[in-house]
């Protein structure tokens, strides 16, 4: 197996590490922490740095599975978001030039009736507004890329194995919702490749129709097959559980969720009475925990080769938590550095501590064990369709929850 020199390079001198898949939950925690950190920032320098760090980690630690190529699609989506945001500002956010702002250019203005207040078509496009849209778009794009990194790095189907037992009955729904993005990416790749083989165009508007419809159909088909496969393996069954116990579990979970919602609302909206905040959140969490524990007792399941949680997993999670804690913490104390003003225009700063914290997240590229790579192959073209290539789920068991368990040892 081919740990590949790329994976080995950063660890020169420490000997070869055995390739293994990092626990998917570790990747998700890492990525979600980075997403939390992202929400605190509109500084473009920090956001681009974060994007770079995400790219480094993904490139260095992704597998060859089809869904592991998802990052570029998310990157494209992020770019689209930025472009749409800036374009919308130019079309709808224009205004009369006023003093003190830097007008870039002026779009012809279309007067709108008074009931359409707040909406404008055309007008002066200012540097302030454009930069503001750019920063906000970049932040949203960064969030999308955080999710993309998680989807590329973590095996979505192995992630499902950690689903709490109490949610067993929801398993099918969760599986379908969690795996839809990776499956779409996989479908796009397959359909494009098929078109290429037939000599059809793979880009441009014309190709869009030829690709989009098969992709959507394929994704739906696969989701249904996955659900059917899970159903046949006993997901969602209720055998042997008393009605009373089920109802109690459901009641606890629903009450807990209500508490969580109320608590989150109370925390975020300062106008709500204080008891609705932390106490409600705590009560909701307790109820949810009780419900999960109670529900989990009645589900007996065995796990084939459970994913280990070792030091590397802890390390990766810590790498993600550092920027989240640092950035969110500093937002209160140094807001100007994290969110540079666009009106008036100022040069974005490069705050040292947040930048270092973001770079710390990049250590995950080294801390995580090297990924299990496919055997030498023309990866660019054939990996997605190679039966038996590790991590091409869906090829064999139509999406059995853990079809990739066998590839652990390599």
């Amino acid at each position: 197996m081919t740990t590949g020199s790329a994976a080995r390079a950063p660890r020169r001198g420490s000997g070869r590490r055995i390739p293994r898949a990092l626990h998917p939950v570790a990747w998700w925690l890492w990525a979600v922490s980075l997403a939390v950190a992202t929400t605190a920032v509109t500084n473009p320098v920090l956001l681009l740095l974060l994007l770079g760090v995400l790219a480094v980690v993904v490139v260095n630690r992704r597998t060859d599975a089809p869904w592991a190529r998802a990052f570029r699609y998310y990157l494209g989506l992020a770019l689209t978001v930025v472009a749409v945001r800036v374009a919308f500002l130019a079309v709808f956010g224009g205004d009369l030039p006023t003093q003190g702002v830097h007008t870039l250019f002026t779009v012809p203005r279309l007067p709108l009736p008074s009931w359409a207040t707040g909406l404008r078509l055309g007008g002066a496009v200012t540097a302030e507004g454009t930069l503001g849209a750019l920063y906000a778009g970049l932040r949203l794009g960064c969030l999308i890329c955080c999710l993309g990194a998680a989807n590329s790095l973590a095996n979505p189907k192995r992630a499902l194995r950690v689903l709490p037992g109490a949610l067993y009955e929801l398993g099918v729904a969760v599986v379908v919702s969690l795996s839809v993005a990776p499956q779409l990416v996989e479908s796009v790749q397959r359909v494009r490749r098929a078109r290429k083989l037939r000599g059809g165009p793979t880009s441009g508007f014309h190709a869009l129709r030829g690709i989009a419809i098969p992709v959507l159909e394929d994704a739906l088909d696969r989701s249904l097959r996955l659900a059917a496969a899970m159903d046949s393996r006993g997901y969602g069954r209720r055998g042997g559980v008393s009605t009373g116990s089920r109802r109690l579990t459901a009641a606890l979970l629903v009450a807990g969720m209500c508490g969580l919602c109320l608590g989150a609302y109370g925390l975020l909206d300062g106008s709500v009475a204080a008891p609705a905040g932390v106490p409600a959140l705590a009560a909701g969490a307790t109820l949810c925990g009780l419900g999960l524990a109670l529900g989990g007792r009645r589900v007996v399941r065995s796990q084939y080769r459970p994913d280990p949680w070792r030091a590397a997993e802890w390390g990766v999670v810590l790498c993600g938590l550092v920027p989240a804690v640092v950035l969110v913490g500093r937002l209160a104390t140094h807001p100007a550095a994290l969110a540079p003003s666009t009106d008036p225009l100022v040069w974005p700063a490069l705050p040292v501590v947040p930048a270092l914290a973001i770079l710390v997240a990049g250590l995950a590229a080294v801390i995580a064990p090297p990924p299990v790579r496919a055997a030498h192959r023309d990866v660019g073209r054939s990996a997605p369709a190679t039966p038996g290539s590790p991590g091409s789920p869906g090829v064999t068991a139509t999406g059995e929850p853990a079809p990739t368990g066998r590839r652990v040892a390599a």
Binding site: A55, T98, T117
Partner: protein, 322 residues
Amino acid sequence: MTGRASRRRRRTGVARCLLGTAGALGSVGLALAVPAVPGSVPAGADPVADCSTTAGVVVAVDLSPWGGAVQRGCDPTLTTALAALQADFTVAGTAQYGDAFVCRIDGDPTVDQTSCTSTPPASASWSFWYADAGSATWTYANQGASTFRPQAGSVEAWTFGAGTNPGFTPAEVRATNSSPAAGTAPGATPTTAPASSPAGTTPAPPVVGATPAAAPSGGGGTSSPGASSSPGASSSPGAGATPGTAPGGTAPPSTTRAPAPVGGPAGTGPADHGVPRIVDAAPAAVHRAPAGSPVPLVVGAVLVVAVGGVAGVLAWRRRRTA
């Protein structure tokens, strides 16, 4: 009004303390203390006279939650409501949205009360109201201050709290002179409520119980700084209603409250509570934050390129060994 040199923006806690104490005493001494406060406007800089019933927009900011008065300013140029506000007040936005979300006006709410990093809750933020020329009621603005275009002769009000209706009427703050400059037109003359100031020496008549009906079209406005044309008061900057003269007119028995020394936000002692007084604001110093230096951006760009380069190299090696 010209003489009302002394409207002060209580920027510092020290000044606030000082003024608060003094105001509670309601003493004449306040008027003397006031000019010492930094930020006193040089006489002649009174902006409100620039507005009239048909020109400019009057901006009133209710600082009563902090024991202040209703500060009144004027922006003769009709651009946006935000620009009008900034003409006479120091506005701080949120870190998140910049000045587009007005978070602090003249330092209120204080840093202790709201950090202004992200959007404050609706119950603790400034709400923006307007009344077009001739209107006797406030309308809650249905768009942001940075996009709202004030009309000539209109009034804008900023109040703190969840959609709190302004505690004063448009007529109380409206400009009543029909022509902008200090030379008051005859028609708009001494419209000060009879009860409020015996000799027309109180440039800031207390707005006591003024009802909208009392001042239909600006003509009968009870408080009309631009129009309180006591001889010499309106036309010549330094003359007339200087702080020194104000105290003299401060205690007309007929008013329910002693009008505080002109423009002294501090004058809002506990006794005044609930009934805002209206004072004029001076033009805010144009303060643009320094743009900073591009060096961090360059360093950051180099760093980003370096990280991106690492990603590129890794991707290239990966492709090669695949």
